[in-house]
Structures are given as C-alpha cells and as structure tokens.
Subunit: 269 residues, 2 copies
Amino acid sequence: MYSVEDLKTIVEDALFSGIHEPESYSSYLEEAQKYSISAGGKRLRPCILLSVCEMLGGNVADALPYACALEYIHTYSLIHDDLPAMDNDDFRRGKPSNHKAFGEDIAILAGDGLLTRAAELMSEDMIGSISAGKVYAFNAILSCAYDMVKGQIADIKAVDVPDDEYFNFVHRNKTAALFLAAFQAGAYLAEADDEVLTDMSKAGIIFGMAFQLYDDYLDIDTDKTLSYAQYLGKDKSKEMIAEYLARLSEIIAKYENNETLRALTLPEI
Amino acid sequence: MYSVEDLKTIVEDALFSGIHEPESYSSYLEEAQKYSISAGGKRLRPCILLSVCEMLGGNVADALPYACALEYIHTYSLIHDDLPAMDNDDFRRGKPSNHKAFGEDIAILAGDGLLTRAAELMSEDMIGSISAGKVYAFNAILSCAYDMVKGQIADIKAVDVPDDEYFNFVHRNKTAALFLAAFQAGAYLAEADDEVLTDMSKAGIIFGMAFQLYDDYLDIDTDKTLSYAQYLGKDKSKEMIAEYLARLSEIIAKYENNETLRALTLPEI
C-alpha cells in the first residue's frame, strides 16, 4: 500500500507533467499555471482520491489523471478566489498570489486554462481506454466542481442573518464538494458497488464539513466576517468537529487496508 | 435537413434548459449565466457542429449536448474577456456586460460555472450512453477550448513587432480553435472516417481564420491596436478572406446535403 508521502510524490510529479508544453507566444499561460501549482499544499484532494481507489482494490496509476484534474480544479479556484474582485488576497501560502506575480489578466486566464486542462486531461485518458467507472468519475468531479462555484457565490452573497442552513450550504458546496469528488471518483475508478459508493459519498461530505469547520475554528479569534465557527462558538465547534470525525472513522473502519486513508483524513486534532 | 433557423431554435431551447436550476443561496450564478446566454448572437459554433454532424449522417439530437457545451465555452470566454482586467468592455451586444450587470465577482464565477457546466453536460450525456465518437468529440472541444486561452494570452501579451506568424497564432487559437472544435466534434459524433475528419479539421481552421480576419476588416478604420487586417491593408485582407472562402467552398462541395453548412459558413460578403 502506498503511504501518504508516496502518494504525494506521485501526485507532485504528475501535476507538473500534466501541464501543456508552453509555446512561444503564450508561454505565460503555462508559467502562471506552474507558479500556482508549485505553491504546494498538502495535495489532500488528489491523495484522498488515489488512497480511496487503492483501498477499494483499484489501480493508483490509472486513477492519476483524475487526481490531477481534481487538483487543477482546486488550484484554479484558489487563483480566481485571490483576485481583487473576489477575496483580494496578495499572498497565497507565503508567495505573492498569481495576479500579484503575473497580473490580473493572466491570472484569470491561467485559472480558466487549469479548469479546461482538468477536463481535457480526463478526456485524453478516456481516449486511451474507456470504462463506465471513468465516465462516472469524470462526472462526479465536474458535478462537484460546479457545486463549488455555487458555494463561492453563496459565500460572497451572504444572507443578512446567517443560520445553520446557510452555513451548511456554503460549507457543503464551497469546501466539501471537492472532497466528495475525491471520495466518489476514487470509488468509481475502483469499480465499487452502490453500497460502497454510498459510504464513500458520506465520508467525502463529512470530511469536507469537518475540514472547513476546523479551518474556521483555527481563525475563530481573527476572522472579520462571521464564520460558522464564530456563529457556533468554540465549544460547539469542537464538539461538531469531533462528531464528524467519529462518524468518518466509523465508515472508514468498515474497510480493510484503510491505513493511508486514515492517515490522510483522521489526524489527531 | 434542418435549416439554419431550425438549428438556431433547437440550440436556443437546449442552451436554456441545459443550465442548472437555481438554488436559493446561489441563484445569482444561474441568473448571471442566463443573462449572458440570452444576449443572443448567431449561435454559429453550435449550429455548425450540428450541421456538420447532420451532413455526415449523424443525429442532431444526440449531438445537442456537445453543441451546447461549445456555446457555453464561447459564452464564458466573452464574460471573462469583458472584465475590467481584460478588455474592460461595459457593453456586449448592446446590453451591459455581465460584470456591469452583476458585479465582477459574480461575472468571474458565472464564467467559471459555464465552463464547468460545459464539461459536466458532456459527462452527463456519456453516462447515458458512451461511444468512441463522443469521447473524441469531448476531447476535441476541450483541446480547442485550451487553445482559445492560449490565443487570448498571446493577444494580450502582444509582441513588439507583430508579423504574419504572430497574427496567425492569435487568430488560429483565439478564434479558429472553437470553429475547429465545431467541425471536428460534429464529424466525430457522426462517426466520420479519418479522411472526412481531415477535411472537416481543415474547414474549421479555414473558416475560423476567415471569420476573424473579416471581423478585423470591418473595424479596419477604427481599431486602436494594430489588427491583422490593418497590418495587411484593405486589399490584401479582402484577397485573403476570398482565398480562405474559396478553399472552404471547395472542401464543402465534396459533400452531399451541404446546403445548411454552406448557408452558415459561406455567406456573400
């Protein structure tokens, strides 16, 4: 079984080799894409996808284009999120954000290019060989990528009096959607049956909700716009995160060879 | 055989029904998408796709998701093109541009959502039933959508001394790519053989080059940044457009039932 570090190394290599070769008149496009991809991060989404696929008996190498596609989608969303008209962030993981390094126009197009490349990469893989699992994985990734945009819109256009329903909508879509895609695509690529798919879909949502709430919880004293953690308060937030992780642990415990997936999704916090 | 008007009507209906139902917290997303889709236009790309498919013996209804995907991609590119950091256009086809009507943040996300929806729509169709032709059509559309972004980058980052090679790169990618996608996807969906595919690929590029040069030619006296038509001059531009259209006509003349495709691509100018 691959370790978390193994999977991360596999993903890193594939992410760079999956970007198009730059052409002279348009080389900024791939330069800007590689700039944001090299900003790093834990590669949680692609590693979860590969780990779920392997746990369920699928082939990691075959799942790699889908894992990269998911990370490209995540990366494009960060580039567009940082734009002045959006969150207006000058820095991302300690480096100037994409538009600070390349200009807003290139940043918009680099994001567009990454989203396009994500789908193109999956289409190239399907030309090589087609299976129902691949088509379902591709659909799960795109469907969740659309949900993510819905979550971003809901986040921007906050309601006057936010409540649990509102925060759950934002977290479910803005954050949990791409984790749902990771769990679902991994399962589809392993040709999992409906019962397993249901488990993995639940796991994806639960992990994503816990992930975003924990992220808010870490910034509970500094966030300027009301976060869900601030809305709930420290104690209730901790309680909910623990509850999510207990439910996730219960699902994952049903499966053999779950060590890597546990290491990715159930750290001690 | 469907007429141009028939195809346009079919496309219009499908474009609107292909957009997701809005949800309460994120309804701006679909509102903004429908706003730009309803701005109209000739629907040239999707109609060419359907027309090529029908001319080559394929089924128009089966090709419709791919035609809509192509138009969503075209529409997202217009929304992002109009942004202040890009062309900064306040109007598009006589209506306020998307960001003028909804704000820059929503416009960025509406574009992202349309590109995502384009790929998602094709994935939904492939879940329904899969064929090699569909996978190739999907790949052709995404590959050309990536080329389009390359063309936009090259257009923005103009070279100091533009020459034929530079202008051809920009026109080939920024404009001709999506017409290439229309011709190729239509042929793939009709399960055309390699020889026909080669013809249709040539036709797509040639029509796209003629289309952009004619567009530049119409604005030859008013364009503020050097266009290819200005670079070539009026006489040479007219000559090149005529040459392109003669070559296109020769290719299309090889095929029976070409009346609708001729009407779409070979108007008297």
